[in-house]
Subunit: 350 residues, 2 copies
């Protein structure tokens, strides 16, 4: 087949940065401590100089562990304390708390890397984006799949026509949140998360579909529901069917109450590429390419996409997933819930 | 894991039949000649004694090749000629011609094995089922997946709880119909087929989902569309989302204009079983079972499901996919088109 299988996956963006970006990390939950802070430490152009938490003890501990200069409370951060010590903020609090922290950053003239989804509702996400635009600061939505080298490679194959014209995308991400997990966590609190499986993990297949196609969907049909009391008020399971302009149908499924599954398949007129597993943090991805020329499967081992994400933000080689890009997903997720409740195909504004 | 991997897949139905069933095979297209007639020849309890075709020459040739006693035209068959020479009919004409041939069989008191889908429209399928009920003859819809031993094994695993409670089903069946195929074939003629990819191949994942769950869907959301002139008036691509009573969402996709894909996955609360490839005729199926106990992949080699289907029909060990069962799929396919056109979730009558 006309396919060059990469033995190494390279950075395909301009990774020159003059000086390291000094980060204030806002919110010190499990993802920040186990994944983001180590990624910043490993990154070429980033360092953590400030950490912010609601728990002074946790802030001090984490500051010590990651060699940060300052440990702040949310109130201190909100009042602009220590702002000379950082250039940008990385916001990884619960979704519904993104807005005030980003507004603070915008007021202080600090660039923002904000976790996905941008906020708990599309309205609040719009205010968040507006705050950054008004403040003249850069806003990037932290879609780590977009900096995973293997997924960027996949996007190039799709755009180069390796599978012909894309026809269908199937993305799924599920695991059992309650197996050993805390049932009181914010990810299934409707006020803090804005939803359940869709908001936390369903956005991965949705955003990855947008990314590899280079297009945004025009309509949504979806089913979202829960069966167990722990998921009252949020979606335990969701399946969304997205219509893209070039007649591609993407089925994006997510579940907090199913066995682990993490797979992304693009089927086109001339072939098919499957990544399995795909959406876990720094997953050991395996890629299968099927075309008329044959089938080949290979390991897509690449450096941590979270480290890549921080360097990508620091280097600003291209616009990447900015605030407007993140806002599109908020409108999609809102349409998913709307479609499920009303039993209708929901058109998305262009 | 608590799973016994079969080294051989066995018949799990009562396969005793007293005397061979003598078949009249109605319609001598590629599937009849290449697959069904050889399967009848190989079956334990079946033989072909009569063949019926619109082409006298083809009928004579096929009768000679498969050692049938009589070669009839449709008119001769319709007039009851040679009816003493067969016990049952196997109808594999284009969909929209099933009804008159089944009506003839019912009038003659002959049992019927009718290809899927039952007819081109739900209304005609209802008349077909009513004819058999009025005539007191057995009607079986030829869903070969239901007699594939590996799929019957899958159904038992699901029912035994190997994956816990099913949460999600993903079934897909696609290939490029026009690559070397005749663009004028009846499968994409709306009058003869009643639709496109959905009617011919989309019914496989839909029916297999019903079969392994032992339930029928209660609502449908779907997208059906075509992009190329050859598929004008029919669906080249279709993706249907079926809601089942126990909150299972099944996504069933089919395409006549995409690279080959044939996969069926059942994801439950405790595990996941994937069959790949699954829907091709007598496919070399490979089954992967993923549970907390580990992952195991094995070849699901089994005798031809088409041969099994004929013996199953002959033995009548259980009711199997009868006319009413086939009719449910006709109502589902109608709801799929309706949902796609109207942009609505369509509820199915119970």
């Amino acid at each position: 087949m006309d396919l060059e299988i990469p033995t190494r996956f390279e950075r395909d963006w301009n990774d020159q940065a003059d000086t390291p970006v000094r980060f204030a990390v806002i919110g010190l939950g499990g993802f920040a401590r186990n994944t983001a802070l180590p990624a910043i430490e490993a990154a070429d152009y980033c360092e953590t100089t400030v950490v912010v938490s609601g728990s002074p003890e946790k802030a001090r501990e984490v500051a010590e562990e990651f060699d940060a200069d300052r440990a702040l409370s949310y109130e201190e951060y909100g009042a602009g304390e220590g702002s000379e010590a950082y250039d940008a903020v990385y916001v990884c609090t619960p979704n519904a708390l993104h807005l005030p922290h980003v507004e603070t950053a915008a007021d202080l003239g600090k660039d923002v890397l904000c976790e996905k989804p941008l906020e708990a509702t599309a309205d609040r996400a719009e205010r968040l984006v507006a705050a950054c635009e008004d403040g003249g600061v850069t806003l990037m939505t932290a879609y780590r799949m977009q900096t995973a080298r293997s997924i960027r490679w996949l996007r190039r194959q799709i755009s180069d026509g390796v599978v012909g014209d894309p026809v269908r995308i199937d993305g799924e991400f599920s695991f059992s949140l309650l197996d050993g997990g805390d049932p009181d966590q914010w990810r299934i609190d409707p006020d803090l998360a804005g939803g359940g499986a869709l908001m936390d993990i369903g956005v991965y297949p949705i955003n990855t579909a947008r990314f590899v196609l280079g297009e945004d969907p025009i309509a949504v049909r979806a089913t979202a529901h829960s069966t167990r009391p722990a998921f009252e008020g949020v979606d335990e399971h969701v399946t969304a069917q997205l219509e893209f302009p070039a007649a591609v149908t993407a089925t994006c499924a997510a579940s907090f109450g199913a066995a682990s599954a993490s797979r992304f398949a693009v089927t086109g007129t001339e072939g098919r590429i499957v990544v399995d597993s795909v959406f876990g943090i720094d997953d050991d991805r395996e890629i299968t390419v099927e075309t008329d020329g044959g089938t080949v499967t290979f390991d897509a081992t690449a450096p941590s996409e979270v480290r890549e994400e921080f360097d990508y933000f620091a280097a600003r080689g291209e616009s990447g997933p900015d605030g407007r890009h993140g806002l599109v997903d908020m409108r999609i997720t809102e349409a998913v819930y709307d479609s499920s409740e009303r039993g209708k195909r929901i058109e998305l504004r262009g």
